[in-house]
């Protein structure tokens, strides 16, 4: 048995090295497939990141009338934070609002000079409210528009923002769905192409397999070398892919970070290295082995 396994390895290796063209084609196709599977994984995570960072940015603000003392505002804050739909509430005082404005627009002389012209602090104190989901903002807005707060509140900016908020949410969920289905379709196509390439490679070996049967080789002894060949292709494709992926993440990471601040795919890559490693090596080896097993079965019937 040990001799047989040793021989299977030897035969598998020698047919792998001899069939250079076929091995290259198989590896090439496998690389593409593994790459697509890894990309699917990466995009899934990137889009999750982008969606959550977009959702982070969505909020509504309640501006209070000038005369309202801070105490009352803090009471409203307390009440708001008890609504289950509210994720968090942040109080921004008049002074803070001014500071934020100055900080944001200090390089814009027109805005700064007009601020000076107005004189004093034109900003209102406000509460910044974030809900868990887009649909919940309506409820928060309704709560604030009730008669109890009529005297306190200058305006709730929900209605100005409503269309934007809804657009963002419907867009992100649509983008997410489209992305996932597109990548799954691509991966399925890639897997079918791989399977077919390996099947064609083995079709070339049809004669060889049938002769092996006729000289009394057991199915195990015939199949073994093909599985070894498939595994070698899978491992090589995996290594190429890992290298390629590392390189791409490393090169493009700074460029992507310019577009999406806070998104560093290289650090994401290093953080998820082992997950990716497993995804890639399993895709490679499983594809190699399953395709060859199915393809050989047909010819073992002699």
């Amino acid at each position: 048995m040990i001799t047989a396994i040793k021989r299977i390895f030897k035969l598998g290796w020698s047919s792998f090295t001899r069939d250079g063209g076929i091995a290259t084609a198989t590896i090439f196709i496998l690389v593409i497939t593994i790459f697509l599977v890894s990309l699917l994984f990466l995009f899934q995570n990137i889009s999750q990141f982008l969606i959550s960072s977009l959702q982070e940015k969505v909020d509504i603000s309640v501006y209070f009338k000038e005369i309202i003392p801070e105490e009352d505002i803090l009471n409203v804050e307390k009440e708001l934070s008890q609504i289950p739909e509210v994720k968090n509430v942040k109080y921004v005082s008049k002074e803070e609002a001014l500071e934020i404005f100055v900080e944001r627009h200090k390089d814009d002389p027109v805005l700064m000079s007009s601020l000076e012209e107005v004189g004093g602090n034109p900003f209102l104190a406000s509460l910044n409210i974030k809900a868990w989901e887009a649909s919940q903002y309506q409820k928060v807005a309704d709560f604030l528009e009730g008669p109890r707060f009529e005297n306190l509140i200058e305006k709730v900016d929900y209605y100005q923002r409503k269309p934007v908020i809804e657009r963002i949410f419907s867009l992100t969920s649509a983008a997410n769905k489209a992305g996932i289905s597109l990548s799954i379709a691509l991966v399925v196509v890639a897997i079918l192409v791989t399977f077919n390439t390996i099947r064609l490679a083995i079709l070339n070996q049809k004669e060889e397999i049938q002769i092996q049967r006729l000289v009394g080789a057991s199915n195990f002894f015939i199949r073994g070398p093909f599985l070894i060949q498939g595994t070698i292709s899978g491992i090589l494709a995996f290594l190429i892919c890992l290298l390629l992926f590392t390189l791409i993440c490393w090169v493009f990471s700074p460029k992507i970070e310019i577009f999406f601040p806070g998104l560093n795919i290289f650090s994401f890559f290093t953080k998820n290295f082992w997950t990716l490693f497993l995804i890639q090596i399993f895709t490679g080896i499983l594809l190699g082995i399953i395709s060859s097993t199915i393809a050989i079965r047909k010819y073992l019937k002699v």
Binding site: R7, S15, D19, E208, L214, V215, A217, S218, K301
Partner: protein, 231 residues
């Protein structure tokens, strides 16, 4: 050792073509250590007969026994055991195209689980017997017809089978090599192996003076102990 009982083999024609009756009610028995020649014109059923014995084809009717086992009842998993006892020289050689002459012969020894040392010792010896020492590292595509045939013969004897089935083993050989191969087959038979030789080489048959089964259109027309080539 080998017994054919009322064997009929019909190949179904494709589409409009009528079915072909390759063998019809063929019965015979081959004893251990016998040397039997099967003669007949092309298409008389010689190759079909050998294919049935290898279980490469199934008979339409009748039973074939090899050492008391019914060949056509063996499960696919049991076929390798049967085939390891048979050394076949195929008419179309059936050498493994992606393996060198040396590896082709080594392969059948690996299949039966021979030791590495035994393989290293025996393969060059067998190659020498068939005169292919210099072609050891060539692939079948690089060999001439005669060389392929000799490689096929070398492979058939390498795993020391109990029976050698040789289908036109001298069809592509010059008279010099033909004689060598026939002498080799005789020697193997003397050493205790059963030999079944299918041929239409009149000269060989008449020289052998061994048992001859003559097939004509799928039927046995003669089966003589010291037969001659009569068609």
């Amino acid at each position: 050792m080998i017994k054919f009982e009322d064997i009929t083999k019909i190949y179904l024609g494709h589409g409009e073509n009528p079915p072909i009756k390759a063998l019809e009610n063929v019965s015979f028995e081959i004893k251990e250590k016998e040397f039997v020649s099967i003669v007949g014109r092309s298409g008389a059923g010689k190759t079909t007969l050998l294919k049935l014995l290898m279980a490469e084809e199934k008979p339409t009717q009748g039973q074939i026994f090899f050492e008391d086992k019914e060949v056509n009842n063996l499960k696919p998993g049991q076929l390798p055991q049967l085939r390891r006892k048979i050394g076949a020289v195929f008419q179309d050689y059936k050498l493994l195209p992606s393996k060198t002459a040396y590896e082709n012969i080594a392969y059948v020894m690996e299949v039966i689980g021979a030791g590495d040392e035994e393989i290293r010792r025996d393969v060059p010896l067998i190659l020498e017997i068939v005169g292919l020492t210099e072609r050891a590292n060539n692939f079948p595509a690089e060999l001439s017809g005669g060389e392929k045939q000799r490689a096929a013969i070398a492979r058939a004897i390498a795993n020391r089978p109990e029976v050698i089935l040789a289908d036109e083993p001298t069809g592509n050989l010059d008279p010099y090599h033909t004689l060598d191969i026939i002498r080799l087959l005789l020697k193997i038979q003397e050493m205790g192996t059963t030999v079944v030789l299918a041929t239409h080489n009149k000269e060989i048959i008449n020289r052998l003076g061994k048992r001859v089964i003559t097939l004509e259109k799928g039927r046995i027309v003669r089966d003589e102990e010291r037969g001659r080539f009569i068609l």
